[in-house]
Symmetry: C2
Subunit: 308 residues, 2 copies
Amino acid sequence: MTIQILGSGSGGPFQGRNFTAQLLRVEGEVYLIDCGEGTQHQLYRFRARYEKVKQLFISHLHGDHVFGLMGLITSFCLKNRTETLTLYGPPGLRQMVEVNSALAGVRYPYPLEVVEVDTEVHQKVFESTLVEVYTVPLAHRTPCTGWLFREKKRHPNMRSDKILEYQMDYASIRAVKSGADLVLADGRVIPNEELVIAPPPPASYAFCSDTAPSEHVAEWVKGVHTLYHEATFTNEHTEEAAISGHSTAAQAAEIARQAGVGKLLMGHFSARYKDLSVHLEEARAIFESSYAVEEGMVYEVRREGIIS
Amino acid sequence: MTIQILGSGSGGPFQGRNFTAQLLRVEGEVYLIDCGEGTQHQLYRFRARYEKVKQLFISHLHGDHVFGLMGLITSFCLKNRTETLTLYGPPGLRQMVEVNSALAGVRYPYPLEVVEVDTEVHQKVFESTLVEVYTVPLAHRTPCTGWLFREKKRHPNMRSDKILEYQMDYASIRAVKSGADLVLADGRVIPNEELVIAPPPPASYAFCSDTAPSEHVAEWVKGVHTLYHEATFTNEHTEEAAISGHSTAAQAAEIARQAGVGKLLMGHFSARYKDLSVHLEEARAIFESSYAVEEGMVYEVRREGIIS
């Protein structure tokens, strides 16, 4: 599971930072998270292969998280898309899409579905063969939800040397893959763990876009490999963070510490900060594995501190 | 009068071309024309001083001309704007702004007005001290109007040497500026044209965003100094132009020739063209002073062929 950052700023396209958007990949599956103005520009700029995206998750309807949506889904029309696209987001998302589409005269050659979720409840809203996606209610000035992506537990892989050694047939292989031990013709029992290669532990990623610090959030994202948490401000502007329903880097780090996550990715930086060294310093004093995201970069969700 | 190009492409942010938007300046006055996605990014990128803009003219509601509007007018909120902003555009513009503003929770600290114009009639819709703006009905797939900017005739400037020579008082100066001859104490009459420097002829600029070729347009923009006319396609794709309600470079040039304009600026290029030499060649065969616009460039409206 990897996450590519398409935007790391808030407020305006300043300091080389675009509005919030991210691309999550799990093997062949691609998910888009938030879609600020210029997201399609960033996708093109970074040569990101996103055409296979089938689900797009919008945290809330503030412009810096959604004003690129209409442009993106309109551009899909020109690409002769035929596959269904499903948008998940807060109440109001459907009206936004329907009114803009009608006024702009967009006729979608592909099925476009909108699923409005309850932003006040932590629950599973989507499931594919590889992942489950949950809402993570956030504390912002408008209905707003984070998104928690959990990889499903995978079947183990068979050891090919053992298949040969014990001349295993398909029925035995299927049984062993599902967890059974192998009983040989002579009655010997080969324990399951000797026959398989354990799959990697399921990766988990939590995206918390715009939020004041929330203990509930820390509970819901407990133990994820990677937590993205907004860190709009530094300690100097703690009061402004509280008034505007945002977090400081230190507050984001405190959530990461409480939740015991693998690493913290910080973003949604206010345009006033040219340099992010204060964010990093203040966060790392509380939670060592804190990083300030960089646009275009792809982060490995599972590994701590590794940036590819 | 100058025009700065903020976007020259159609369909997507490809080939280094953004969606349509332009900035028109007449001395201290600034006007924005169309506002495709990423317009605020382009304004920032080109360090364009646009904060003084008070009127924004939208040709039609297709996304590549309007999906940057919400982002721009929301960003004005963060800049503590207090001055009224008036949006001119086709019917539906008000609903688009109102619905998006309500859903995105935008509260404007400045008065925001929307004027929906009749896109089927050529008429004056706005007037400042320096310019008049007229609609130019276009032939597109949706209600669409071009915009014609005409500088007003200016008062001539007094020749300072003549003020001294004839010891003119304020009353005489005022009379001469309004066109009167000067009658001296000894009865001699000094003709007006000897006392003043004639103002430059009023500049005129026509913006025709998305349109099939139209003889009416050629009539309405007759004799303008600069005509911006879309030239989405080359001759090779004339049929596609007709189907989609667009023009080829040759058709744009033919309109420029019929209208007898000073120069033609072509834009709204389809993403399929990496190189614009065919557009230029086909246009110049019909109308010599044809140019393919470049993003960020500022064009002098009055002078033919001059690019600053």
